[in-house]
């Protein structure tokens, strides 16, 4: 495996990308979970799928667009979807969670239409759905690295505002911080992380990397910073361990990553129970 990483560029790409998303997905996920927005990541990943399908359709239909990286369109759709969710949450003030199934089914509907126009499934799309070790190109790695830097910088600079907004929204509003702008920037970050993570872990599983490591550390973390630290640790163990297993056993990486995250979650629940016996 190690020699494989040294030898093959595609494995280097996959591992480096994995290490980036293993950190940024749980980092964003901590705020997503404590703000009770876990379902948003699912909705946005389905919208990102529509973007990928649209991009693949364009590649097929127009020869001049054959080199277009589907990642860009996935990001554009995902960010667009996040804006729609915010709009819908404003429209349905008393039923804010309605925005999520609306966007989710809208995204899925669009994806199915694009796939059928493109005349069916191809292997590329399969890789996006379930994740793939071999699909990550050097360009993908650079794009994802850029996303990672933007996300980490933004969340560091807005950390105290996001903490306040997560802990006590009413107090955040009363304190006079620009909470709408901060919330909006945050949602865009979520959308970017989802688009960046889907190549490795797959669209259908991407939300798990945002929620499972966080759910595990929620069992025993003392304080918010510790929770972020543990979430990232669990995220990294899941991704690196998952990629390792998937390469050696020839399994889809998304599945192995998620199953390791589930195992960590079970262990932390048991640990918490044992500690509070």
């Amino acid at each position: 495996m190690i020699s494989g990483i040294l030898q093959f560029e595609f494995l280097q790409n996959a591992f480096l990308t994995g290490i980036i998303i293993g950190a940024i997905a749980p980092l964003v996920g901590v705020f997503v979970v404590v703000r009770r927005m876990s379902m948003i990541s699912d909705a946005l990943s389905h919208v990102a799928l529509a973007g990928i399908a649209f991009s693949l359709l364009l590649q097929k239909s127009f020869l001049s667009l054959a080199g277009l990286n589907p990642l860009y369109m996935g990001m554009a759709f995902s960010v667009g979807g996040s804006l729609f969710i915010e709009k819908l949450r404003g429209v349905y003030k008393h039923y804010q969670e309605l925005a999520i199934p609306i966007i989710m089914s809208g995204g899925m509907g669009l994806s199915v239409i694009f796939i059928s126009i493109a005349d069916g499934f191809n292997t590329d799309l399969y890789g996006y759905l379930f994740g793939s070790v071999s699909a990550v190109s050097r360009t993908d790695l650079y794009v994802i690295l850029a996303v990672g830097i933007v996300v980490v910088l933004t969340l560091t600079l807005l950390y105290k505002e996001l903490f306040l907004l997560s802990f006590d929204e009413e107090h955040a509003k009363a304190s006079g911080i620009p909470y709408k702008a901060i919330h909006f920037i945050f949602i865009v970050m979520v959308a970017l992380v989802i688009a960046a993570s889907m190549k490795i872990i797959g669209i259908l599983l991407v939300s798990s990397l945002m929620t499972l490591p966080v759910a595990a550390s929620l069992r025993f973390a003392k304080g918010f910073k510790q929770m972020i630290g543990f979430s990232i640790l669990f995220g990294e163990v899941s991704v690196v361990g998952g990629l390792f297993l998937s390469y050696n056993l020839d399994l889809a990486p998304g599945g192995t990553i998620v199953i390791i995250a589930v195992l960590i979650l079970i262990l932390s629940i048991l640990f918490d129970k044992w500690k509070n016996r």
């Binding site: 404590v34 009770r36 600079l157 807005l158 105290k160 505002e161 903490f163 306040l164 997560s166 802990f167 006590d168 929204e169 009413e170 107090h171 955040a172 509003k173 009363a174 304190s175 006079g176 911080i177 620009p178 550390s217 929620l218 973390a221 003392k222 304080g223 918010f224 910073k225 510790q226 929770m227």
Partner: protein, 250 residues
């Protein structure tokens, strides 16, 4: 001397019926005012207007001598809500982190807490007697202890005015008295002007300096001594009938 808060002829409605009618109220610097009134009397609406969370429909509010619509110095105003409404008790934050979040506005966007800020957090925890709990998760504390932490979160930005919305909801009765003593200390020693919304009429009147009785209209506004002189008939005409007035003897 100019009052810290000056409300003039405030009326407010959500749909058709007015919840506040022609309320005018001046709050002098250094006061400890209790706004009391039954459920649905418009107390919370008045607070939300005062915090700038609701837009004024009719009337005028001046806060620190400035029209509330143009007021920006919100760090001068501390707010303690009914904790049960606004906070999720499983939240993984330490007491220290919670109190430090009270400095968010004061530190400013894109900046980080300095050593002085951390000292302020400790000082605020000390003044509510909770320094020993700084590394505990907020969810592990009792209702009364949590409320002290929330007071510290407001104190940390060194506010001149502190607004408390039913802060004793969820605090067990034997700690309520201590809680009010702490508020009295903040008012007298630190000179913070306090506005307290409560239905706890009996307990507060021996701690506060002023009382305002609200039931859509402002029925009484005066110092605590005058309020205590009111007889039961007058109180009933303020609150409507069927409200009991217990005079706690502490």
């Amino acid at each position: 001397m100019n009052p810290i808060v000056k409300m003039e002829d405030i009326s407010y409605k959500y749909t058709k019926d007015l919840v506040l009618e022609h309320v005018s109220l001046e709050i002098p610097k250094g006061a400890f005012l209790a706004i009391v009134g039954p459920n649905g009397s418009g107390k919370s609406t008045l607070l939300k207007l005062l915090l700038g969370l609701f837009k004024l429909q009719k009337g005028k509010i001046e806060i620190f001598g400035e029209d509330i619509r143009r007021f920006k110095a919100w760090q001068k105003v501390g707010f303690v809500s009914q904790k049960a409404n606004s906070f999720n008790s499983g939240f993984p934050a330490t007491v220290f982190e919670v109190v430090q979040s009270g400095l968010t506005k004061k530190i400013g966007l894109f900046k980080f807490a300095s050593k002085d800020d951390k000292k302020r957090v400790k000082k605020a925890l000390e003044s509510v007697d909770m320094l020993g709990y700084q590394n505990r998760n907020i969810g592990e504390l009792s209702g009364g202890q949590q409320q002290r932490v929330f007071i510290a979160r407001s104190l940390v930005s060194e506010p001149e005015l502190m607004i408390l919305d039913e802060p004793t909801v969820g605090v067990d009765s034997k700690n309520v008295h201590q809680f009010y003593e702490m508020l009295e200390m903040l008012n007298k020693k630190l000179g913070i002007t306090l506005i307290l919304v409560t239905h706890d009429v009996g307990t507060v009147t021996d701690k506060v300096t002023h009382v305002a009785c609200l039931n859509k209209k402002l029925h009484f506004h005066g110092d605590a001594g005058e309020y205590n002189e009111l007889d039961e008939g007058e109180l009933s005409s303020i609150y409507g009938h069927g409200v009991q007035f217990l005079n706690h003897d502490h």
